[in-house]
Symmetry: C2
Subunit: 388 residues, 2 copies
């Protein structure tokens, strides 16, 4: 199987010294879509766009529901090569593998490319699959702005079509192959059980901007202190609960060396195996931030930006896949995926490919070619099982 040859065709697209920059509807991501359409054409797959930025390339399209696989091209800022694209390249290679095996599927097999999975450009993760499934209103999505003030409607060339029940009705099941994002997998391939509940909160810390040199320490209302305390509190409260809390994005005003900030905004990412633990964690972080704000003479406000309950993948499909693949491990993940969004509408499963570094959302993310080839074979096995 020519994994490396196909993989290398896209390896340079959007690659910067600091990692991949493949934001949705930017030049690198559009180049990847163009490449995908060409690959689909070479394989006689019929490509359709759903009006939400998602692409579907069908082998033997028909009125009968088909088995869909695929993932996304877009990256986090300075991300890795595998998160997303591995699922699309593996899907194309799985089609090749099935043909090489002489398989003639009884139902359509489709390869999907979902738009803005990471939410890195417009702030809402799984935007393409949320639009497709009606989980977000097209008008609301159209008005989202990136950091440069560009709206999604401007970037995507119009207001999205939104909910496409007609298209969902043509999907009998969805299987997304994805690189594992921790170190939980010690064999080449595993299958997902569930996605942890998770949410994103914006935390605004407001104080009094002032001169760094002349303002007495006792006169300060420095929101950076409240922010810093909250970072440490979120970490501690998450560890106490076996949950995950991260503050990885910060914005400071005026962000000058010689000025006490007037405002610090930060984003809290919180996840746990159980939704009540996430709620409890966020309540504890809020309480501790508020206490510290009183001490600092600052103000703090939490605003939820996105919330997702637990996603349990289809149990029958998961067991069928695990059995078909000879008893591969079944594992939960803390990461969101388009598969999580689709799972509320069609029987959905995920395959994971081993990530020896356990690093994700970073250029240090890695997978061996051998494991990726194992992933393609496993995906081909699953598609053959489901489509024949």
């Amino acid at each position: 199987m020519e994994f490396r040859a196909l993989w290398d065709e896209i390896a340079a697209i959007g690659k910067e010294p600091t990692g991949y920059l493949r934001y949705a509807w930017t030049e690198p991501e559009l180049a990847l879509r163009t490449w995908f359409r060409a690959q689909a054409g070479q394989r006689d797959l019929a490509v359709e766009e759903d009006g939400n930025g998602n692409l579907f390339a069908w082998w033997n399209p028909s009125a009968e529901p088909g088995v869909l696989t695929g993932s996304h091209f877009d990256s986090v800022p300075h991300g890795g090569a595998y998160d997303g694209p591995l699922g699309i390249v593996s899907a194309l290679l799985a089609v090749d593998e099935l043909r090489a095996r002489g398989v003639r599927p009884a139902r359509p097999v489709g390869v999907a490319v979902f738009a803005e999975e990471e939410g890195s450009r417009f702030g809402l993760a799984c935007l393409g699959s949320r639009l497709l499934t009606g989980a977000v209103a097209p008008e609301a999505a159209a008005a989202l702005r990136d950091r440069d003030g560009v709206t999604l409607a401007e970037a995507a060339g119009g207001v999205p079509k939104g909910h496409r029940p007609d298209l969902l009705a043509r999907i009998s099941s969805f299987v997304e192959l994805h690189i594992e994002q921790g170190r939980a997998l010690t064999v080449p391939v595993g299958v997902a059980s569930a996605i942890w509940p998770h949410g994103r909160w914006r935390i605004d810390f407001a104080g009094e901007g002032n001169h760094a040199g002349t303002t007495l320490m006792s006169d300060r209302h420095d929101p950076m202190l409240t922010f810093a305390y909250t970072v440490l509190a979120a970490n501690k409260e998450a560890r106490l609960r076996g949950a995950h809390a991260t503050i990885g994005r910060v914005s400071v005003e005026p962000n000058a060396t010689n000025a006490i900030p007037a405002r610090v905004s930060a984003w809290l990412d919180a996840r746990a195996a159980d939704a009540s633990v996430v709620d409890d964690l966020v309540a504890a972080v809020t309480a501790r931030a508020s206490e510290r704000a009183t001490r600092d003479g600052t103000r703090v406000q939490l605003t939820p930006e996105s919330l997702s309950g637990e996603t349990a993948f289809d149990v029958a499909l998961r067991d069928r896949i695990a059995e078909r693949l000879g008893g591969v491990p079944v594992l939960a993940t803390g990461a969101g995926h388009d598969a999580g969004v689709l799972s509320a509408h069609v029987p959905t499963a995920m395959l994971f490919v081993r990530n020896p570094s356990g690093v994700s959302h970073s250029p240090a993310e890695t997978a061996s070619d051998d494991d990726c080839i194992e992933g393609v074979r496993a995906l081909a096995d699953v598609l053959e099982d489901l489509a024949c």
Copy 2:
């Protein structure tokens, strides 16, 4: 005296809803320079540029050394109206006041506009006065870059001329009027004793970028934690020493909600009445940051960006001014000024105008018109005393 009329002429230049944006060599600051040249022309003051971006408008220029006053137009990001421009507007009005009094100075009186005092664009405070006095090499200054990557040479239209001993020899004394930047002044006008020693350090925290959802808390090397701990430690160590420490500028990579940062950079501004206290403070912050980095599995590095020892203004000049003004208060300041740079070369003094809010480097900075008018009268008194 028409303080308000002249003040209102520049009030709108560079004013944004969030405060003033008057960075050196940007459109608003250049508009202020154009306005200054026109004002100098109306007063028959001869304007010269020193090849470093500094302007000098001389009343009765001659070979004899003259009394110089003035300040700067550039602002911090989202700064106030008074920090800098008050000293220039007051200087122009003091010339008017002397003429209204019928004063015929025996030596030249000059009004100066210094470039990039805040260091908000190219990172080095008092850049214009440092170039003029040879405190920074013109080639080094020319290569400084702003946040967009533009070099100072590109912004200023060439490599600065640097040290101008010929021009310094023509200054018998320098008096800068400036808004007070704390709440230390309870009468309209005061005179400066000294500027606290201060420095700026860049602190780089390096960890391992990773996925916020899938990375176990125990597997993380999160530089945001080390940074947050350092913010709180710097505040505590400064308070223990009666010093000032501020971390007001932060940069995060990749700065994404769902990514543990790979790197956080922060800038520490540290000041105290005594240089040994600043050294001790920074040593303590470094030690505590390093301890925490060991715990977090991250790396931390401090790099000094600028260091200034204590600046004691000319004692004879200070006493002469305080006496001339009828015994105004004498006070030290934690803020750097072009007057501090010039004081190593010519007898230098500063007048402060009361700031009721005590707020500085913020649009909340304020001074009453009555106090500003008192400031102009005091400056005129001092110039009359020194130039006649």
